[in-house]
């Protein structure tokens, strides 16, 4: 019965949230090395994907919402933009959870890339409607690449907590 012990929300939701916020702030410092700026990946995307894969949860969507709002405040984008985009990614991963079960690392990485692309396309459309102008595709591509590189962090979180509660195997 030890495998059925409940998973503490602060362990798989709270701590990673704080880590992601810290990483976002750290990468937001105005540093320029050899004329190049730091990349700006969407760190919360790794959490949105990993949380959906680990288990369905009532708290996780609100965690994703909070992270999205944090991004909107920190980057000063339209308020609610990243919250909605991350929730779309989370919803997509949650819907495809049964298909992802038991897949190897490369396939999961591809799923992660697909959910990230979905969220960014949604962001592109929302921003286009909001500002009546089309965002550049090259900066979007850079941010997409910088974000999908983060998959190993999502994988680590999945490995840590996927088997923490046997009800969701």
């Amino acid at each position: 019965m030890s495998g059925a012990r409940p998973l503490e929300p602060w362990r798989w939701l709270g701590v990673p949230m704080l880590q992601v916020m810290a990483a976002t702030i750290l990468f937001g410092i105005p540093l320029r090395l050899f004329g190049l700026q730091l990349p700006e990946p969407i760190f919360p995307m790794a959490l949105a994907f990993a949380w959906a894969v680990i288990r369905p949860s009532i708290l996780a969507p609100f965690g994703v919402l909070l992270l999205g709002l944090f991004l909107d405040f920190f980057w000063s984008g339209p308020l609610g933009l990243w919250a909605l985009c991350l929730l779309i990614a989370y919803g997509g991963a949650l819907a495809g959870r049964s298909m992802m079960a038991g897949q190897n690392r490369a396939i999961l990485w591809a799923w992660y890339a697909v959910t990230t692309a979905t969220a960014m396309v949604a962001g592109y459309l929302f921003v286009m409607l909001d500002s009546r102008s089309t965002p550049g595709l090259i900066p979007m591509a850079w941010q997409f690449v910088a974000t999908i590189i983060l998959y190993p962090f999502a994988q680590r979180l999945i490995d840590l907590f996927e088997d923490a509660d046997v009800r969701f195997r």
């Binding site: 937001g28 105005p30 919402l65 339209p78 909001d130 102008s133 900066p139």
Partner: protein, 421 residues
Amino acid sequence: MSLRDNPLGELKVPLTWAAAIALVVAVVAATAILLSDRRETFKAEAYGATRKASDTVLAPVGDVLAAPGRWTGAGIDTVRDYFGAASENRQLKAELKEMRQWRDVAIALKDENARFRTLLGLKTDPPIPMVAARIVTDSRGPFSDTRLANAGSERGVKAGNPVMSENGLVGRVIGVTNGASRVLLLTDIASRTPVMIDRTNARAILTGDGGPNPRLDYLRGRDPIREGDRLLTSGDGGVVPRGLPVGTAVKGLDGRWRAVLASDKAPIDFVRILLFEDFTQVVNQKELSATPVPPPTGGPAAEPVKPPAGSTTSAPPGDAKAATAAPAATPANPKPADSADAKAPSPKASAKPAAKAKSADGAEKAPAKTSAEKAPAAKPPASGAKSPSPASSASRTPPPKTDAPAKPKPRPKPPVDGAQP
């Protein structure tokens, strides 16, 4: 007991449904927040208390986190200066030699300019006060390009103030709180800046798209731009002052004209926030847009004699009462339609110096004018009217009024010269 027999297994389906409902609730909340957001308006209240609070918290955090980077940069600069001092000295000496020649030219031009201004009675824009600030956080995504500067409302910064680095225009302030201000960069998707091409004086709107090189939209004229043309702010609309360096023009890979920003030459660490006030902030909009009530006619008996065709006067000459009742400086009694000076500048910009003049030297303008006197005064001198150069139109100066031929009649309220909206 197998896992399937475990009563806790029954929780799986309800929890999945509950999770789905939670997701829908979160999506609805995010959508509502997104629809209610107003980011790019100039109204201070549109920025929101929550954003102000988050900026107030983030500014010192970013300042502390950026400190090691600053120190490292300063250290590298020190080392580089030490080893490159001799070559830099040679380069600076050559530059100094060239600059001395430019200084002589500048002094001569300054003197000539001052004389022309005196002759024409031009009123140039007053010097703009500035505030220095340090950039503490940075966001560079495709959907938002903003920075947080560590100077805020306590130093007089307001939403809409332009921000410059030592190389050129960086953006403008969109939100201010105590100790911090949010700067919307020229590259942000929501940024629109009126610019002009220095060589041809053609106008365009610099439109950010999240990339490093914003687009030049709405270019007008035939062949208005060439590769390498210098771009300056045009000052149209009164949002930014005229003549601030923006960058140079390049043809993008997509075939559209774009700008290589001057501010990209060096890291944007220290900036100057120009405490420039937009025309709409200076002028009392209510008063300006108020429709004047027409004066009572007094019935058919008191109806004045109709002026002959072609006459531009709105009241019979010498009718002091009627002249008093009709507000002289209202749109109902405008300058003559053929006044070139009245047409050239944009409505907003043309009224700006007038409004300033009203507050600054109202006493000087106390002698009233009749409409007969006003008509010739409204016409600018021939040279100024026929070729309103962009430089002179920037100052939007009311024409000199020394050549009034008619005898002045006092009025209770003097008209504001050139205050047409």
